[in-house]
Amino acid sequence: MSQHVQGNKAILTDTTKCIGCRECVLACKQRNKLEQDKPRRWSLDDGLSARNWTSIVERPGGDYVRKQCRHCLEPACVSVCPVGALSKSETGAVIYDGDKCMGCRYCMMACPYGIPRYDWDLAVPYVRKCILCDDQVKQGGSPACTEACPTGATIFGTRDELIVEARRRIEADPDRYVNHIWGEDEVGGTSVMMISNIDLSFLSYGTKLDSTPLPARTKTAMGAVPAVFAGMAATMTGLHWIIKRRMENHGAVPTVEEEGDNGNGGDA
């Protein structure tokens, strides 16, 4: 691997190969120096927390599904962060700059997969989530979880080659897999993709995500902002001028006291 990164880096997780050993969870904790954790009032039951950036969810039927940040190609979290604390790295990872963050937690609200977690127990809290081991990847390494996986259930590569590999696996053994690559098209595509023998839409509020990138949904309204401002200001100025002129012509009311407020009977 060269020093500079080529293409959007990605992870492909094949849940049919996962045996639920949680080596990835441990490797992630060691690489990112995450402390030990215990169940808290605010924890969800998916095992992710401010100190667990990836987790294994056990599904009825003995299937294991790994949860982590999906590193969307057009991430909702990056688009909504008012201070730009979240950003897309050149590797494709969605990374976080705690020094900019002001703690509004809009990213947590906007994420369609409900991934970012918060340091609820700390007086100085930060948003925490998988960063695709961005530092290592930039130096030609790979994420800790993919290095640790004993069965090769989760692998690292460029997004394009992983999509090819995923499709090859599904075609080679169509009975084993649901014919879908989760993350290929959803919300405009994600860098962490999954193939599985079960339906994985439980990872996103139980609904199927369509292929519209989420930032596109606020684009119209946000694009209209300058026009609305100018339009409203122009309309109000125009109205003010017309109404004032009309009233002066009719002579019904003396000139409005916009200069020197009358103070409502006060001592102006």
């Binding site: 045996i19 008012p82 509020y205 100025t237 916009e258 200069e259 407020d261």
Partner: protein, 617 residues
Amino acid sequence: MNRARTLKTVLWTITGFAAAVALTRFVFGLGATTNLTDGVPWGFWIGFDVMGGVALAAGGFVLTAFVYIFKREELHPIVRPAVLTAFLGYLAVIFGLLFDLGLPWNIWHMIVWWNPHSPLFEVGWCVMLYTSVLALEFLPVPLEDQPRWQSIHRFLSKLRIPLVITGISLSTLHQSSLGTLFTIMPYRVHPLWYSPILPILFFLSAVMLGLFMVTFESETTSWIYKKKPETHLLAKLNKATPFIIGLYILVRFIDLGVRGQLGVLAEGGWQVGMFWVEILAFMALPLLLMAIPKSRNNTNLLWTASWLGVFGVVLNRINTGGLMHQGRGVEAYLPGWTEIAISIGVVSAAALVFLFVIEHFNILDARPVDPEKAPTEKPHFEPVGMVWLGSPEVSARTGFSLAFVLAAGVGMMLLSGKTVRSEGLEPTVVIAARGGDTLFVDGNRDGYGVAFTHQQHERRMMETEANCATCHHMNLPGDEQSNCASCHADQYMTTDAFGHDWHSSPAGGKLSCTQCHAAGEVRSADNAKQCDACHTDLVPEYASIEINSYEAPAYTDAMHKLCIGCHQEQAVALEQEGLPRCTQCHGEMRNVVTADARSVPIRPAPGVVLPPSTVEE
């Protein structure tokens, strides 16, 4: 007691109570003082303080538009309180936001680091700018009594129309952008509240709420200070209200129709109920009350209509802001008393400032008389010791301080329990083992754990005198069940797999000493035969395992690494890459518990009968 003083005492009490919670919030974090979770990161503080607060302050821009743009001069007497309410409202929003932000000292970051794609960035900037505009709009009021500042006063008065127009435009932007905030959450917000045109709906309801709020605030102030209510003015203002409410309801239903979500209304459920409550009780009812001229001109009915409307729009904001978000397998979020205390505390503080300002500046047509300042009031005595409480003003202030301090004390008392000590940790609810009987126990959450077969433990232990409480008890603080080691005390000890007694027993193996140990030597494990000398098929020919030790690994070694740990170590030690491959043990089976690992049964050596317990089950 008079109304103003009673009200102020109540407000000071609430503020004191909130102050205690506020202190706790900043020392112990959000987890200790809110019911927010990773699944519900926005709650009451965003829904009420910020979204509701901004909407509540909409009276400012709506009324300035009526008076300064549309020249409805007759409404002039209520424009000052409306601008004041808006100004204080925005200050309260910013102040309230400081509690909700995780890193409130970074609130200024938005000025330096820009992300113009973010609706929240837009809202933030508009709120900053509009608060400044409101400050400039309001500044002439305190300045008008100051002869030294008359030039500034005159300058600001000349700027009035540009300021009003800027204010209206900024308000249009951020009132609607508060709706835009949620358009990025199509999968999260309930279909009855989600809409791509949320910005338009939010703007319409903000205009509506502006009118309600001006009415409510004016009628309430009149009541507090026993002034003549300005119903005749407000009735005129509210001629427009029914049309705006009607338009809002119409747009909302058309939007549901266009999106094909009208069917959701037939589905039932509490969300649908909430939708109808919002529409019928808090929108249609005030519409009706304001549409009929007779009720519109009646002070009590107009006041009722206004607070219904205010409540309705705030409810809509809370619903859109979090209450009506799709469940995520977590318990429904309800705000904690601490959250409500802070919110009401912020409002109370703003109300106290409002009362102070209208008593000291020319806001209303006549300054309401501060009842404590009445010089003719008789002296009050403290009822027990008959001590003079000072002049009415001093005694009122003493009363307020006392209320504040006592309430803060009570608040501290309520907070000083488990919540704070355990940094928000509360007993976790027992969740049934997912995926069947087997529980993955990972006490320290390091990712390693054991597969715990609950049902099997239960069955075996019930045969003895044990019951559920043997493991699930509460004997130590924070202790909810026994750990494995309290029964499996030997879980860290390696085990001798060789049953010496059985082998030498006449009832068992019937072996004499020399059959295993060399004769004439001190008998020890070192000079004994190896197991496979007799048990020739103990290790199948094709097995890759070499036996060097007859000690079984300890529970912790065997189970905590879930087999794979040793396999990995051995793969390196023996240079056999295939050893940690899953299929080595699992074949096609992927369940750890039912792993087909013991595919080679141990058979007895020729002529030896094994005890029943070692025979394959």
